[in-house]
Symmetry: D2
Subunit: 361 residues, 4 copies
């Protein structure tokens, strides 16, 4: 009989149904099935390894996840330091603020009559509705808050920390912004101008000349300096967009100034976009290696799935199995209240890169 | 203050993370989030309603689910009568037979070198490998079995029952074909010629003149007659393809002969295909209503997800919460061992439709 | 200065806009852009090479292409022998027959009210409408025709040839079925039971006992024997589904009996499905190599696009640039009117494989 | 005979193949087919109507279109004023600058060995390669240019105009940035920080303290003021992302200050993303109506296609058939060289919104 091929070593183990399984048991039984189910099981293992290693974990977040009911998952990940730094679209932070302010998004339908919704001033996000009137009030609230700041440029990191503080002080409610404020986790929002937070900031100028200035280039410097300070990093990306690229760019930019940086040590993405149209949102983690965004030997997994399906299961499982690792973690310690942030006691400039001399390393 | 819009009634409830949640608790917390996560939670509720109602439940199955580790989920659904009739592609039955015969599919990688695999005679299904040599042996085994049958045309339903019996007799192992045999659940395979089972049948002709005859048109008649006998039906579809259309076609064909038939009473599909290219696999359940495949008021839900992600969670939850309904169910009783099947004691012809006179109803 | 990398040889040439460009000039300017645009330009080149080589060209056709306005493109490809054998879903042949019989599909909208359509007995295919009443009449017409045949099993190849003949005799109109009849191009329909043609055939049994018998396993034998007779083949696939697999399976099955067969020499697919969910429709042409469906060195290209966008441009360009190659082609010559077809004067059995002894080759 | 349904009025007209057809003739024959082919034909008609109406046409551009060979199409659209304002990702402008500086992207393969590419410092964008060394030089070139500007905050509109000017002065080559400079077409880049242009700007700070300041909130004000000045607008979007939302946001923001603004009058998008995961990139134009981003009666079309397939055909056809309309157009006239831009001679502030009193209108 023919010798068994070197390609055949680990048999697929069909998923066995049983009542009463916990989320982590479900994922454990998905370890040896195929396709995206297996990838989701791998995502749990890789996230676990990140938590057990000494790495700074970036979380990127695009798509309508906050409006879609995942904001308290992200808040949980921040509060319990499953992640160390959030990079988000403006919309996800805005929809988080909307609910933290005591308002709601509503169960709707993708088949709704949009003309009727427009007449009622209801905004639709696929199958989810919200009140435009409340949105206008949010914008105004943000504009008002922005006028209380100094009339100088803020990085989004500094601005969002202050916004989280104000939100916590006035609401005492859990959410992404408030959790990040309370846990001293930095948030970057590279495309803040492209969101209702940006609209609120723009309206601040109507109230106060010189208000609403954001230094997004400072964010580029600061995020790279974070990695120069702590070169071992991991990337978790939900949904592509600007956060995915910004997290990778920070690593590439840091590498330019420090020989110790050599791409993320782990990478995990949950995306719905595909590689073959060339866009960055759907780009593969293999491609990321060619750019040095990801180390060539770094564990990685791409899960092709809507985050609203994959994330509840994944995080529920992690909450069961990763709590010990989370408790043991030495997460980086930030101070974020000032123009200049610190990480583990060291300043992180936003106006120049920390150049690390190769010989000095 | 403005009156609240009629469109805003049920707030989104963000998913709250907690360790130790069971699969059904995870799904319960997804009921009021958005997008495909909400749809998956709805799928559980709708399946539950099917089980509590007096309907014949069809399950359609396309894609590489058996090779991909979901065959024992389908076997479980059949054995415990979460479903009453399976419509499958040939490949899913073939890969089931492969494992039931004691062989395996293997964990592989989509990045494998296909030329090297070809040299080793390893066949790849995305990230899953299998031995071509074992496949050739399966084909031969099927061909051999087919020569033991009478040299007349068999519907796929009759043939697959006999195949399941032979498989059970020789292996005593669980799988889709053996579970269906043991639970007397009919299987249709409208595109059997387009699969390795079809290849095995074709090779039977080499061994025995006149062997390997399949009456797929008989399947069309028989499946429609099943619905004429029991007009209340439900449709669960995994992955589109020929099974999706065949289940719908049976209802449309039955309606042609019986005024009591008026489309499925419930419909649930887990698909990755999309509607906007016009293909049937991705077609919406709304579109199905225009054809009368689905009643206009029938509960329905489409989940856009890889089944390897969605099904383990969904069925694990059902196994916890639907067991009472399953126990109470009066599932249709079939006999399948002969050329003519019966349902609840009545014959179901495959050579003519049971015409139901409107006045006689 | 650093030496240029071996990876950088052919620069991207941006597409330059100009009025009055012909379809082939547009495609020529797409040769050196990126992503699916480049792939579409490659598809033209590869198809051209097929036409210049001595290969039997199979065309597979799934999705709603006939209803969607591409049936005369396929008819043209058949009539002018850009292809030599069609493998189709039943639906595409049925919707072709519908129009060849003088009826229409209609411009509709995906946003239509499906309940209202159902009331009017209008069937919707995404953005396209048709009359259910006319469909019922077609089914009946097919049933009537089927009763005029001998009461024995027909391969789909033989049945569809006779159907094409009858359609031509009664309508004298161009279409897929009539073009194939007139050009003596065989059509296989492995999933014929899963279509309205299957429904029509099933209704034939109501009119005449013993009518409507189809030998789909005979198709498996016959298609493989075609390749045993002429081992050099090419595969063009539109939209995946059963035709894609059937064309590949024929090659694999043929190889089992003849050492001269070694996978398609060229492969081109225009698909919307993706590989990462494991289904055959979206599977890559690299994966096909592992199975031996495609030779390891065979030119190949996958175009990720709706065929209604890609095919009009591609075939318009081919009609300009490939006419000389088409004129020079020595396409295989078939006779299809009998139970046993011939290719280049040799019979092609459907009841046993032509075994080719290795030493005899 | 039954009366014909009101739903059936315009028959599908199958595409008829003919050699020598021009791009516009191909599109004309796609007007009455189905699915995305029909949508692409509609896109041409709607774009034509924009050109014949008195509207400001915004073009949004995401994805890797510049690297992928479409940058000279966009340059052509700008130079000939098929569009009046570009909103782009930073990457598209950066890859444009890369080629305008005389460098190239290269034809590559998605199957390349990324570890080998990384070793050679070759960056991959799906099937396209580029030299990292050249990218580093670009970043440095941008940084150097940025130090020549005043040390104050620039809107991206002002900065990109100056960048285009410098690029033209030093290269005299066609491209997006240079065409926009020469045609006085404003470019906004709301996520400029998330791109290599942002990286270049961040590096300017290393060279000169206080350099590289961008006022992205100023862009929000300025873009809305453009619409307050000229309330009739149209939106053309390639690929979703921040440009899509920014164009819509400008309209919504403008409406807040002026009763004359009521959503875009026309909308056309060519996207590959889908609506059902809730992200803005894939959101439907129907959904846009609920937000007031698009007027309820505005002509609109969504084409689900890779832009590298759809755009060459679409723009080639427009270049033939829209030239008269383009020649007749009264496009808005901008001056962009200063901190404050003008449109048709009126200033467009970036530090406060132009409030239009309802009674004054």
């Amino acid at each position: 009989m023919k010798k068994k091929s070197r390609f055949l070593h680990t048999p697929i183990e069909p998923f066995v149904v049983e009542g009463g399984l916990t989320a982590d048991a479900v994922l454990a039984r998905m370890e040896r099935i195929s396709f995206q189910g297996r990838n989701l099981a791998s995502a749990r293992r890789i996230w676990n390894r990140m938590l057990e290693d000494d790495v700074t974990i970036f979380l990127g977040m695009a798509g309508a996840l906050s409006a879609g009911g995942l904001r308290l998952i992200v808040a949980h990940l921040i509060a319990h330091r499953y992640v160390d730094c959030l990079v988000s679209t403006g919309a996800n932070l805005y929809h988080d603020l909307h609910e933290t302010r005591g308002q709601h998004h509503y169960v709707g339908s993708p088949l709704a009559d949009d003309a009727a919704l427009a007449e009622d001033q209801i905004d639709r996000v696929y199958d989810t509705f919200a009140s435009e009137e409340e949105f206008v009030a949010n914008d105004n609230w943000i504009a008002g808050f922005a006028t209380t700041l100094e009339t100088r440029a803020y990085t989004t990191r500094e601005f969002l920390y202050q916004l989280g503080r104000h939100l916590w002080d006035t609401t005492k409610r859990d959410g992404i912004l408030t959790a990040a404020y309370r846990a001293n986790v930095p948030i970057f929002c590279p495309a803040i101008a492209d969101s209702s937070i940006g609209m609120g900031l723009s309206q601040a100028r109507q109230k106060l000349s010189g208000a609403g200035h954001i230094d997004v280039i400072g964010d580029v410097v600061e995020s790279a300096n974070m990695i120069i300070r702590r070169p071992r990093t991991a990337s978790i990306v939900l949904g592509g967009g600007t956060p995915k690229n910004f997290i990778n760019q920070a690593s590439v930019q840091a590498e330019y100034y420090s020989p110790e940086v050599s791409g993320h040590r782990y990478a995990l993405q949950i995306v719905t976009d595909v590689p073959h149209f060339g866009g960055a949102s759907g780009s593969s983690l293999e491609e990321a290696q060619s750019w040095g965004k990801l180390g060539a030997a770094s564990p990685r997994v791409s899960v092709q799935s809507d985050a609203t399906v994959a994330l509840p299961l994944l995080v529920s499982a992690l909450a069961s199995t990763a709590s010990a690792a989370v408790a043991r973690r030495k997460a980086p310690v930030f101070t974020l209240a000032s123009r200049v942030m610190t990480i583990d006691g060291q300043t992180v400039p936003h106006d120049r890169f920390e150049e690390v001399n190769e010989s000095a390393v």
